[in-house]
Symmetry: D2
Subunit: 422 residues, 4 copies
């Protein structure tokens, strides 16, 4: 397939220089269905990107689409702030019945505004309010969002510099595998906490991703997560799991922390929770932490009811039995096998892969290679992003609903792109 | 009409204590159309609230609804991050042709994430980056959002306390009419700026609402806004107009600052820009300020394409001629006249009204009265909110598409609610 | 007198560029006595500068000198941290008997380290600890010191820029006479405090100088100070009077706030409290504020016992009757008369003078004139400093022990310097 | 010796609760000479505390005393701000000839105010100004002072809490030996610096003590210091050595970092630099860092000329040959031997000792023992302090001028105190 760069004039003339993906993928997309996107020039792309994790159920999933169209057609409430609506109630009931109760999770549900960063801001506010402390511990290569509260616990220096003010109150600790693996887990962190002279401001909370997506597909071991949860309990810190990218089944189970058997104090969800790729987010927390005053955190779009409709439909369609989880793990094995083969095929490239469920990363000794592969894949009709602090990791994030054949097709394109950039 | 409080069980059991409107309006809403909302028990409500300004075109506006259904039905791209899409291009072209070019506004357009607070965060980041300074001047009773950057320039002490950290880098100045009106405008502000010993950190920017909606319907005079713009120019500060609630025609013209004849350096839009009440926001700025690096500010839902579709449809339907503005001003006069009559009817209540276009506030000597009126209005079938630092102002914010008859009906209910709480 | 610039080689070669007074006054001083300084080349200077207020009793005051020599000769404890010593006890007893008890002041005494900025740091810490709030209100053109806590409440932009970090938690308010005098005192400040939407973080304390020395000899009226004290009481803020430069009799009474009849919650003293020009400082506060834990604020030189000895001797010699105060006020009238004459002599220069006790400022329409006068005065054998945000005020700060003849001599030199630079 | 608690009335009645040493040592001291202090009741104390390191040359050293008395008697300038004086010149020349030139150190000299914390504040300001960055890296259990800038890089949680504001811009790293000694030096620190996603704000500077006195007598190895200096160079950070307590010969050489063969970018000195225990401090830095503007950092007591006199006399008397260093190392061996014997005598107490030159620490498994030993030692006529985050280390800090006999006497009292508290 040959791609002719389309006329991007209005984008170039009018849209801010901050635009980004439209530079990597110089196409104008028009339609999308499942794991395929179509540009206006008739090209088709297989999507291993899935809206950065917001499209776990694929583009314009027909089951959710039907529910959404019905709702809009019957003039269901669209914009509801935090008024009670029938759509919101249906979502809350589904979330309780399908997600929380079967997992024995005690959480209260907050609608903090429809974006991930807002869910994180609310989580951090609540943790600080509950504990009466300002400090938050985050991890190397964490990504939690772009508004100032979230950005202060995000690792990426380039994003941080955008703040224009010194970002404070956050202290990074080493994520799993960050140091050479001979250093005992949490050696440094616990020493700081136990020592009255360490200089660490006592943290209100620790915020962690179980798999760091933007940070380079860094996978925390279950025992590391359990160690972290135990550390938090020993030292009276709240544990916040930011499950915005890794929740909603990305790693297999609905929440990514289920494998480790931990129950975080606070959980953030966004991206795929709405099901259809429309804005929605949640902050969940233990009921005893629900010290909010009415309206203390608000937001215009915290009641985006169309998202509640597709969110409830997605829970009903995919999470009432264990099929989704099994399928994701099976697809994950398929991906892992292909990545193993790619690495084996190119012993000289210093390639490594890592991942869990349906999120995988492929890294090369030459840090620039990931971008080259992503570019070549695009030319070959595959959308695949890079991640990591220097964009050095090819990041595979297909829809969970991808068929084995589509997955295979994409992995073959990827293998070819590796080959053709080697 | 008698309202029986509906069973709110799942809301009460599962939703966080932070929920707010569902407490004031104990109904479960199901459908909405134009200026009417319908609860599941068959009650009808006239809406003078309009999604806190997100529904300037009414609930589920049929023109926009058609465009939205078509787009969803044909599997248009839903979630696009900042990829180029046909829907985004159509929006950009419409925004350029219908909004920017006719007003001779030179702005670049940034999609910072779909919420107002994200647009403000992006504006503040950009101002700080351009000027290399941290300080921002805001105004008494300003409201700019709940994430930490926006909250630091928001006035409300209750919301600020939610931050859990000291909010810094912002300094409040008196909004128009804040002091007794004998003090010359900007006397204090300019003195601080001109004096090398004043202790004010030199601001990167000033952020202002032309009418403070949440702050109590405080209306800045055009000459005050012009004075502010001139002050900014004299002292090398960027002027940011937060037009999230007052833009998109709320005060008559598309932008609320048009009346004053100023051109802010940066403008934020959200709420009604998407037309249909779905999340969308924009940060606009002079092209010479577009110093963003690609991807320096990002966000998962910054390309919510269904909103682009309804946004473009709204611009086409309402803003290609001057009808919308004229109609809004006419409805505004109708509202003002009714408020004048209410005040005249109750000389002992110390009532005052103020507003512009279709945003009006009604304040009483007894600060608790506004809430009582809002409650009584609800019982009488009218949704009307309060605002101001102590909720002391009844805030009228009907859809711009309201009919004169509906407006009259609502104003009569309001008058009755005043009477019945006096 | 002709001054030949002395060889400054080691100063220029070795001392940092931060050095300052040695540039204005290019002499190498060797000896000093009373109001005279002598350089190594045999020149004599009349001192209207008095160590920036640290030498209220003149250079090497013979009464204090005797006590100091005796103490050193008998091997009294020199360095004592906060150990109990006989010298410290003698000072505490004198301070209680001579200063606190006659004025019915209830203060506890803290030795926070021997510099003014340390006394201010301790005062701010204590206020924040007591009130559990971070914010401090200071005033335009305030000067409180160079360490980060004090600098954050200091007005001068040049000094503030030296911090290298954004200075936060302080908000400036207009000092007396700062705005045009038609604006009611504290109109803005009280409005901010009373309004829950103002955006001002509730202050723990207000810090004020009764006369701003570095800020340009700005004199607060007694009624303004009383208004401030009342405001603090109404709004639960502690009132800190920084009396480092204006205390110890500079304005006549021992504390500069006595005239206003107020009792601040916290008072800082330094500069002349030690009597002999050696480092010493105190933080005084109401006993109910004494919530310090032992050692919570410490410092190596907080027990500089030689200063305790001269401090006690100064209290005994000068403050057991009312002579010092009367004399200072008389000298002040002498100074004022001369300044009035200077202004009258040059109606075209737009000269203004202001002051209280023995601190006076002389300002000209041309802001550069003050420096020229100071330079010319130096050539004529008079040491006189400038102050104000742009160094636009000639600052007269003679020793309180100056004789009428010396004062007259200096004022005549000053008049000549004005004349010769006009 | 039996100590009768003296009447402490005025201290208890008038002095703030913040007082500390006078609680541990309930005596009223009157005179002092060499290594002996005398209270007013006729008791004599051997001093192993030496003014927390400010009395390296002993109390009221007769050589310095003579110079001081002469200076005061002849009315030498006492208070000089940063005017040129003959006393200051003599000090600068001595410092150049005796300290800087023989060690080939290129430093410019700044007089930042006479206390250690002021020297640190100046060092941090300068580093931030030079590098244009806010962040500073400090070490676990660091102690740098009580004003806000210094406190933010101090480790002790109790002292930090006194700030009343969140202390920011500082990040602690592990001091030498802090983690188990299998972790490679600087593994974590360098990983953070090298990783663009680590979340560490790029530091302007690193501030370190070569031996942490207040932190518990933690001794950095020379190779660790060299590693740190190399790390700073590789990552463009300034290296600040805070030599306030360990400089002026405490560890043997004049500067404590000489043994490691490094040349810090900035050095702070205070405590014993003035020789006689009177306030004085210096900030030294490479000439290319001297970007201060005149007067950008100032302070009333930065020209305490009596201290210049004793400082110069001390340099002349003790540092023109290598005797002082040799003697200190010899005394150090004497102390080490005694500590080794104490530990050997009590194998069950889990005692450990560590130190360098004439600073030694003795730690026990039972953290409360150090205080008990200090108390018993006081009863036995020995002044010895504790240090460490929980006061768990007995800290030996005798004057460098102590005789072998006095040292032996004190060590025997210490051994007895250990025995009698075991």
């Amino acid at each position: 397939m040959t791609i002719t760069p389309p006329a991007l004039s209005v984008f170039e003339a009018l849209e801010s220089e901050v635009r980004s993906y439209c530079r990597s993928w110089p196409a104008v997309f028009d339609r999308a269905q499942g794991s395929r996107m179509y540009d206006e020039d008739g090209h088709t792309y297989l999507d291993f990107f899935a809206g950065a994790g917001a499209l776990n159920y694929g583009h314009n999933n027909p089951v959710l689409k039907r529910a959404l169209l019905d709702y809009i057609e019957r003039d269901g409430v669209t914009h509801g702030l935090d008024m009670g609506t029938t759509a919101k109630r249906a979502f809350l009931e589904a979330f309780q019945d399908v997600v929380l109760r079967p997992r024995d999770l005690p959480y209260k549900v907050m609608f903090p505004g429809p974006t991930g960063t807002n869910a994180v801001e609310a989580a951090l506010k609540l943790a600080r309010k509950v504990k009466g402390r300002e400090a938050i511990v985050s991890f190397t290569n964490a990504f939690h969002g772009m508004s100032l509260g979230s950005l202060a616990v995000t690792g990426n220096a380039f994003k941080r510099a955008g703040a224009g003010i010194p970002l404070v109150h956050g202290t990074p600790m080493p994520f799993d595998h960050y140091l050479d693996d001979t250093v005992p887990d949490f050696l440094w962190f616990e020493r700081l906490l136990a020592d009255q002279g360490s200089g660490l401001n006592t943290p209100a909370a620790v915020i962690v991703e179980t798999v760091q997506g933007e940070g380079g597909i860094n996978v925390a071991r279950p025992e590391w997560l359990r160690g972290l949860a135990a550390l938090c309990e020993r030292h009276d810190m709240l544990l916040i799991v930011d499950d915005i990218q890794m929740g909603c089944g990305r790693t297999g189970s609905f929440f990514s922390f289920e494998e480790a058997g931990i129950t975080p104090d606070i959980v953030t969800l966004s991206k795929s929770i709405g099901g259809y790729g429309m804005p929605m987010s949640l902050t969940l927390f233990r009921p005893e932490l629900d010290v909010w005053e009415p309206g203390e955190h608000n937001g215009t779009f915290r009641g985006n009811n169309p998202s509640f409709v597709t969110a409830a439909a997605a829970l009903d369609a995919y999470w009432t039995d264990g099929q989704m989880e099994k399928q994701t793990l099976a697809r994950g094995e398929q991906a892992e096998e292909a990545l193993r083969a790619i690495c084996a095929e190119h012993p000289g490239l210093g390639a490594r892969y890592r991942g869990r469920g349906l999120v995988w990363g492929l890294e090369f000794a030459d840090k620039a290679r990931a971008s080259a592969i992503s570019r070549r894949a695009f030319e070959l009709g595959l959308l695949v992003e890079t991640s990591g602090p220097e964009g050095e990791v090819v990041k595979l994030l297909p829809a969970l609903t991808i068929s084995p054949e589509e997955l295979d097709e994409g992995l073959r394109i990827l293998a070819r792109a590796v080959r053709e950039t080697a």
